[in-house]
Symmetry: D2
Subunit: 157 residues, 4 copies
């Protein structure tokens, strides 16, 4: 169970993809997402990022269980968010996902979250996930099936 | 309620503080912190960071209400975390906080989270918070009281 | 801010409503909803209940802000859940809401959560919320607008 | 993975324990526990209950992993909370746990949460957990080790 990224290497880069697709997912701010400042708690944007990623996979025809069934998982090795404007209860937000980097054993998703009604950028950030073997904890090559699904959304291909 | 950092400027830097203090806070991983991968969910590290910040303020003799009572708050404008090793239920962790940057209207906290029993680094990251006026949403100068409290923990002073 | 139910009284009961409507809302189990037992954490069913309530109000044409704008809020005074079967990541669930009791100053929602694909009952419970004045903390009469919206979903009318 | 309580039976009751012990655990309300009503979100009391239960086990010299290592777990089959007074950020609370019922294959914990500074009762409730086999999903007898640990805290013995 010695997991996380120590052993993966960033080798293969890909040529530039001129017209990457963007995946979009709209959602409402729930009451439980807010805190006593009456805005969305900053930690919840990372839950939003993950929710967008989950819906992205669903849109592509699979889900995290694809990895679980292969004795793999997708541990996160980096997460970042820049907060531009506060979001409030009941705001209709829209998340956008693109694949910012696709390496041999990892993928970097870039997220933008907009207020869908005002078209204002609320927050922006990224998450780097590694394809890892659940038993050894070592990073392994991104499965071909997954790689092919991601390519159309990657600006780096 | 037009909050968040657009209007703050980073002007005053401070000279190097050779012996900054580190604030330490031990805590246990709760069951609810874990996810189906049987490790702490990546978003919860940001809750840990905030908990450490809260205990830091408590140690200094105040809390977030100090800001609320002055019509201020401390919106986060950036948050980052690098995950080194997974943490599991019941692990005894220890958070470390130092003040990485102290600017006119913002503070950047650097956090490290160790497994206290194995002394292994689990995660590391930072949070940038701005002192803002709750009504106008504009960044304002860090109150002198707060600034003086932070200085001994700042490596930049 | 002395809130919560001590001062409300349960006086007006209503006659039996033979054909109450049921509000239904489908949703997916997110990874963050799970815990190390690889099932949904028991506390999250209360978040699900609230999410269903929020979508119910949205369906009726308003939301919690209706109360906030009138200096009111809807504090919960009781919450209960019975867990029948575990739910797992990616399960497609469907929540059902009916109004179980409608009193002068409170409403009791009954929730059922089904696995939508297997039609299995996963969990069942209720939440009692009071219409309260945010300043005095006292329970107040349910606004007529709200009451009329709820009636078609109440089995007690 | 067909878990949860359908198969357990409530047979053995115990005689009255006149002087049961109470386990107490103090904790602070964190900012992330609050919602836009500037009080603790009602779902978080169930996290508090679980945290108190975890600290109770720790006090008794073990933790949830005791069950995991034996191929067991402790699924919750019922949870209830009555909210008396709101709790706010930074409030110092104290949780109290007693064992309300101890049956062959289940335990019912009763919780009270007080504001430690004002000695006001904030919330009160219970959780029923079943000792279950993780593989078959069936309820099994409470392990003797666990039972003996619980007895001094049970008002029913």
């Amino acid at each position: 169970m010695d997991i996380h990224l120590t052993h993966y290497t960033f080798t293969k880069r890909f040529s530039e993809n001129l017209t990457p697709k963007t995946f979009k997912f709209p959602f409402r701010v729930a009451w439980v997402d807010t805190d006593a400042a009456q805005v969305v708690h900053f930690s919840n944007y990372f839950k939003f990022f993950e929710k967008i990623e989950e819906e992205f996979y669903r849109h592509l025809g699979f889900n995290f269980n694809y990895f679980v069934e292969r004795g793999m998982w997708l541990p996160r090795v980096e997460a970042f968010c820049q907060y531009k404007k506060p979001a409030k209860f009941n705001d209709l937000l829209e998340g956008e996902l693109i694949v910012e980097e696709l390496r041999e054993k990892s993928v970097k998703y870039h997220f933008k979250i907009f207020n869908k009604e005002t078209a204002t950028l609320i927050a922006e950030g990224y998450v780097v996930a590694v394809t890892a073997d659940k038993n050894t904890g070592r990073a392994v090559q991104i499965p071909k099936y997954f790689l092919e699904k991601l390519k159309p959304y990657c600006k780096c291909l």
